[in-house]
């Protein structure tokens, strides 16, 4: 029997599109409609890890779930300072279990945030965030600025659903009624669709934002003719464009957070938007990558007070990014075991950190094989959240939505796996 499921959430990127149509036949997903190619490929699925595995004499051998849970618990209990890392592509419910586990074993919880929009969060700690839900932008914005981000490639449906091309109450003409400004170091596909593209030199975002702030603040005459390779005249035009909007929105990506200046770039951009509000309405939003990286920050925040890099070794949450964030811990060899869930640090962390990971016992929980599997010591395959398991995820604007279960799973969910590991940890503790 073919089952048509409407309004499915796509668990790929931070857009968390919730209008996907999925056709299920005989417990298998046969067709995906309405998603972008990135989302379709995720929902259709690919190479799954077939069975739990444990590394014996250097190679992974298939084993039972019970044995894998026991082995994982042994690793965590015997570690002095374990790292529980990932969480961006699973449910909030999974992270809740993970936090409880970290509390009980005195571990560190960090999310992929710390290597992506971590600097954005530090910027927000400095300045606050003048933000909105995406629907407000769809309904009102007449100026969209994409700064250091490329939604055409990374968030393919963003422009149509939420930003430059979306139609709403005060924006009935969609793209035609809006101006789109792209600021980037290269001419991306997003830039080719813009009304105006400002190409800047790599690593000069801070200078450009500072100059715009001066112009918005009425101090244009103090600027030199040339600011980091951009003419003052051009920046004055851009500042006028911003001030002249009825409702402006800046979306920024890793171009700001992972280039020279990092959190200072974000701090400066947040300040610019705050100051633009003396002239008109302006908001700003980070283009979050993984579908639930925002949710990971939210859960960790309400549980511990802090959005990432939380160390429970002292029995109470301790947060100091630069000390308790995953790269810093790994590069200092300050953790001695790792549980990696729903992420692939082997592909994404700096080489020195990956080497450190490879040297310590690693537990991996993931539906899919990835380069981290190559050095994992315990591999536990899980159900795919949002396809085979229910749960909560938060869109990039902080809106929470419920992921549905579309088909039955042959695998336990992340929540079930973490609960089983926690049970084993408690049992081992009691035995000792």
């Amino acid at each position: 029997m073919i089952l048509q499921i409407e309004d499915v959430l796509c668990t790929f990127c931070g857009c968390l599109c919730d209008d996907i149509r999925v056709e299920v036949d005989g417990g298998r997903i046969e067709k995906v409609r309405g998603a972008c190619r990135l989302g379709s490929s995720k929902i259709m699925g690919h190479n799954r890890i077939k069975s739990p595995m444990i590394r014996v004499n250097g190679s992974l051998k298939e084993t039972s779930y019970d044995e894998a849970y026991r082995k994982a618990a042994e690793i965590l209990v015997s570690a002095k300072h374990p790292l529980l890392y990932g969480w961006a592509s699973t449910t909030c419910e999974a992270l809740k279990k993970g936090i409880l586990l970290a509390e009980e074993i005195g571990g560190v919880v960090d999310t992929t945030t710390s290597v992506c929009h971590g600097p954005s969060i530090i910027g927000i700690e400095e300045k606050g965030l003048v933000g909105t839900t995406l629907g407000q932008i769809k309904n009102r914005a007449d100026l969209i600025v994409f700064w250091g981000c490329n939604p055409s490639e990374a968030h393919p449906r963003h422009t149509l659903r939420y930003s430059s091309n979306a139609c709403g109450r005060f924006t009935p003409d969609g793209r035609k009624g809006r101006k789109v400004l792209v600021i980037d170091v290269r001419e991306t596909r997003t830039a080719r669709n813009a009304d105006r593209f400002l190409r800047i030199q790599p690593g000069t975002d801070y200078e450009i934002i500072s100059a715009l702030r001066m112009i918005v603040g009425g101090k244009a005459e103090s600027l030199p003719e040339d600011i980091a390779g951009v003419s003052r005249k051009e920046l004055i035009e851009i500042a006028e464009m911003m001030k002249g909007a009825k409702f402006g929105a800046i979306f920024f990506g890793l171009g700001l957070t992972q280039s020279r200046g990092r959190y200072k770039n974000v701090d400066n951009a947040l300040s610019l938007v705050s100051e633009l509000n003396s002239h008109t309405k302006f908001v700003i939003m980070a283009m979050r990558g993984h579908y639930n990286v925002t949710g990971a920050n939210q859960v960790l925040t309400w549980s511990s007070g802090y959005p990432m890099a939380v160390d429970y070794a002292r029995g109470a949450p301790y947060y100091n990014p630069g000390e308790t964030s995953c790269c810093d811990l790994l590069s200092r060899r300050d953790v001695d075991a790792a549980l990696i869930i729903a992420s692939d640090p082997a592909s994404n962390l700096p080489r020195g950190c990956v080497e450190a990971l490879a040297e310590m016992p690693v537990i991996q929980i993931d539906p899919f094989e990835n380069p981290t599997t190559l050095f994992a010591d315990v591999v536990i395959p899980s159900a795919i959240a949002g396809i085979e398991a229910e749960g909560t995820a938060y869109r990039m604007d902080g809106l929470s939505l419920r992921l549905r279960k579309l088909v039955d799973a042959e695998y336990p969910s992340d929540v079930e796996i973490l609960q089983a590991i926690l049970d084993n940890v408690r049992r081992l503790r009691d035995d000792n």
Partner: protein, 566 residues
Amino acid sequence: MIIKGGIVYDPANGIFGEEMDICIENGRIVEDAGGEVIDASGLLVMPGGVDAHSHIAGPKMNTGRIMRPDDSRIGTEPRTRVCRPSTGYTVPNCYAIGYRYARLGYTTAFEAATPIIEARHTHEELEEIPIIDKGALTLFGSNWTVMECVRDNDLGKLAAYVAWGLRAARGYGIKIVNPGGGEAWGFGSNVKGVHDPVPHFDVTPAQIIRALAEVNERLRLPHSIHLHFNNLGRPGNYTTAIETLELLKDIKPSRMRQVVHVAHMQFSAYGGTGWKDFESKASAIADYFNQTNHATMDLGQIIFGPATTMTADAPLEYANARIGHQKWSNHDIELEESSGVVPWVYMRKMPVNAVQWAIGLELALLTNDPWKVVMTTDHPNGGPFVNYPEIIALLMSREKREEEMKTLHEVVRSRSTLPSIERELDWSEIVIMTRAAPARILGLEDKGHLGTGADADVSIYNIKPDEIDPSKDHAKVKVGMSRAKYTIKGGAVVVRDGEIVAAPQGRTYWVDAAVPESDMDRMLLDLKEKFERYYSIRMSNYMVQDAYISNPFVVRAGVQPLREVI
């Protein structure tokens, strides 16, 4: 369980400090019971505290936490055998909220403002708050559907929308914040008064407030409308407060309660034409409350030291950020609201802050009937709720007020009437303002009293009312009220000697109101179009699912069965 020998204050049942035993069975107060005996000989015994207005869960709380790692670091307490770890002072983590309320002897707290579309997040946090019972009020004051129904003068459809919205949000009542202002803020403006039209919607705040109040009574909701006035926080705004209350005088309540509850009255009792001649108008407000019977208030008392302001009054937060040179978070919510968060510090030597401090106390002391007043700090806007014992001590002791005033800016003497107020509240009045009145105002029939059948929520303090004179021994009052000797929640001892000994999961209250099907059908037709055209999520993904409320307590209201809406 039997609580033996306590000096019991249960003003809702006419008990004002009598030595008597309290019996508990199956989570309720009963006539007679056996089992565990708690020796409360000579100690102060009262119903568990009820906070009718506190910001404890949802996106704005987390925004505050994320903005303020400095605050999270204060108040850190490690994990124990019973407790998860605590952090924060003005923006505590979820666990700390539950434990700290319980330690104060509070067993119920209501989150004051949740947009429907973000209610799922609010419930995720409420679920993580241990021990206490809770609920969340739902924001309707700048909602497009609401304003269109008001413009079309279609109260049937408005009632259907409110019922649907409460169900979608699993919400408890109608919250209105700076009505119309949240919409105007969508393009960076605000409404200036109750008769200033909302841009693009052809309605005024006065019309929105009145219509929602009428619908509230049509739906027979347990609570009245819960109103944050226009012009809140601005000098001279007491006239807006009285003008707004006058709009509601002729509305007939559908239950034995007020027609309007005013949130954090202190922030709307200001005189003066600017910050330079800023002064208290608490006496004018209290006079109004003394002469009328349709309104109740909570104080929104300020506490010196750090606070985190958070409200759906986004233009106010923008102004706060500018005045205080503070970091500023804003959050607009499509079709429904806007909001903001700004850290704050109230200072003793700052003239405005000194007068604000006096206003809260004046309101409590000048309003004759304690049943019209709820003690709050509008946590964490006026300061964190953990300071309630400080306010209790201030209200019970003129001597303490005098001592405090000596440390404040001198304008507190010339621009408020506090120095001349002799009234000192007694224990019965304190119990009314912290238990009996908030329960009655919220419409929680089984809370705020110790009559047979009531929830077995009881607090016992290490204070002997027969031996202590709160007027002089105010320091002892403060210490005693800060850590309950026992807090009993739903019949279980959760606090003993000021320490958490158990952390059961509390209940979440929400209201399911019925409306005629024909109204619901008309309303849904419109609403579906709003989702097709304007919302950024699908209607089928909008409602809070049952999975988010593990322990619900559903209060039925309305007149006819509500059509099931999926």
